[in-house]
Symmetry: C2
């Protein structure tokens, strides 16, 4: 194995100083074009490869951005990640991705790891579980850009990217009401984004003088294995439920499937609205009315924001919370022709 070429080797063969080599390779303005060419040519010739370990140590930067998401294998999250990766990759950064698996403990460990690895910035979508934010203070103290997306905390120091979950929940619910539903059930969590959606749901019902319905049972984690409980609950209501606002498309799709099995007709007996505009929503039948959540755009925006902060392009003090536009997409599951 031919040993690795360093800038010292280049310096020696080119009869210049290591500093000149370093600057040439980094396209430093104070080096003459001629020298730069020479250095670069020789570097290619000898197959020089930078040693990032040394560069990182010296500059105390890693050109690396950390990401912590609840889970990788969800259409929504992987779409966001795709957007982030595209933007930061183009800007010359790499992404270190870890998942909290919805556990605050793991989130803590992951953020420690990221901090220790010396990420230049970090993007986080919180675990469902997360109740305190102590584990992010190292980033804040060291002025490492910290951006939250989708599932965000109340930390005034950080940029957060969200949609208006409250309003989205309100619109979804009001749409059901407008379609004639009188007895609408919310299925989803009651924290963070889910809490906001729930609040929007309640507000819409109140506005229209309807009772809201929520059962602990239905603070499901939206895992398909809990579908039976939900269906049983629906079956056993004295006043029949005629509308469902489900906080995720995937779970909504499972609901529709099981409701059909249980001989409910969707949308005739029960109208359903989901959330996210997951690809699944337009493929099931009836196709699912849902809230479009611009995940890819959010990822792109997150990427751009973090790059801006790293480049010092923008004074982020001003904007510390950006809300993306959502949209109600009306399909068959909530409308009768």
């Amino acid at each position: 194995m031919n040993k690795r070429i360093t800038i010292y080797d280049l310096a020696k063969t080119l009869k210049v100083s290591p500093g000149t080599v370093s600057r040439s390779l980094n396209n430093h303005p104070s080096i003459s074009d001629k020298t730069k060419q020479r250095v670069i040519a020789k570097a290619n010739e000898l197959g020089y490869k930078i040693n990032k370990f040394a560069a990182n140590l010296s500059s105390q930067k890693s050109n690396t951005i950390g990401v912590i998401v609840p889970k990788l294998n969800s259409n929504f999250m992987s779409t966001i990640l795709a957007g982030i990766e595209k933007v930061v990759n183009e800007a010359g950064y790499s992404l270190i991705i870890s998942q909290s698996l919805e556990s605050m403990e793991k989130e803590k460990i992951n953020s420690m790891t990221h901090f220790n690895s010396g990420v230049d910035a970090i993007l986080v979508s919180l675990a469902y579980d997360t109740t305190d934010y102590e584990h992010f203070t190292p980033f804040i103290k060291h002025k490492i850009p910290l951006i939250f997306l989708d599932r965000v905390p109340n930390l005034p120091e950080c940029l957060t990217l969200i949609i208006d979950n409250y309003l989205a929940g309100f619109e979804a619910t009001e749409h059901l009401i407008e379609q004639g539903c009188k007895n609408i059930l919310y299925i989803g969590g009651n924290r963070n984004v889910y809490l906001e959606r729930f609040k929007g749901y309640k507000a819409a019902l109140q506005k229209h003088h309807l009772d809201y319905r929520f059962d602990d049972l239905l603070e499901t984690d939206l895992d398909p294995k809990n579908i039976d409980e939900v269906i049983n609950y629906i079956k056993n209501q004295p006043t029949p439920i005629d509308g469902l606002f489900v906080a995720s498309d995937s779970f909504a799709a499972h609901c529709i499937k099981e409701l059909k099995k249980a001989s409910f007709k969707v949308p005739e007996d029960i109208k359903v609205v989901g959330f996210n505009n997951d690809p699944i929503s337009e493929l099931i039948s009836p196709s699912l009315t849902t809230i479009n959540y611009p995940g890819y755009e959010m990822g792109v925006l997150a990427g751009q924001s973090v790059i801006n902060q790293l480049k010092g392009n923008i004074d982020m003090q001003a904007t510390n919370s950006i809300s993306l536009r959502h949209e109600l997409i009306i399909r068959e599951s909530s409308t009768i022709k």
Copy 2:
């Protein structure tokens, strides 16, 4: 800002050498328990944090594993990634993930980046586009573990994780034949895994003395926007097509939807088999017969393999290709009760 504590600070306050501190922190056997305790206690007290940049430079390892996938936002890939992340995270490694966006050029750049960043190992699923593998030779030359999954090249030096796409294609097609299909169309690519599936399809038809059908048109990249071409093709066949083997569930779901719109009956007129066992497959109606592709398991196995190689646990010379078990899952889209 209180400046960062180093091992020198610890050494000074503890009146030991930096070497002792370093060894204590790394749980080196030749340090007495007592000293270790003292060092660790003081480290916690002063809030010592390791500087990975320095540690990496010194040890020339990063505790980092690179991953290149065609795209992040596919259910299949993100499921694999979830499996990988879980395993390597537990083993103390971080994942640097990048996407080639199905372009060999970007794959090249990404692999250079990973190489330069000093990843300890790299996992790759090839771009559809990739025809040569030069860009992986640096890893091989430097004996950096290189593992391919799903979309793999013919490189005898590397471990590859796959399923038997040929056999899966064969079984999917033979299942359609057994259900009475005489005129079966393949929809998918004709490279790499898709080529294998296509070959399996052809073999099944040959075995049963049927003609195979394949049109350039239908070397679609399985993007929903191409669905119209496919449907038109099907409509315009002199002998009606009665079976569809589609190389992805998501595209199969779109096919079914559009076929229904065009008043074809699935499965009565046309039977359909997909590929992957995407969550979508059991939610559409009719539910989709498909090949179960154990993505999460493949991710876990990839993670374990790479950890084993890094720890030198296993002699991987012997096994350089592992094939996971797939499974035909028969649902409504291909069977008439």
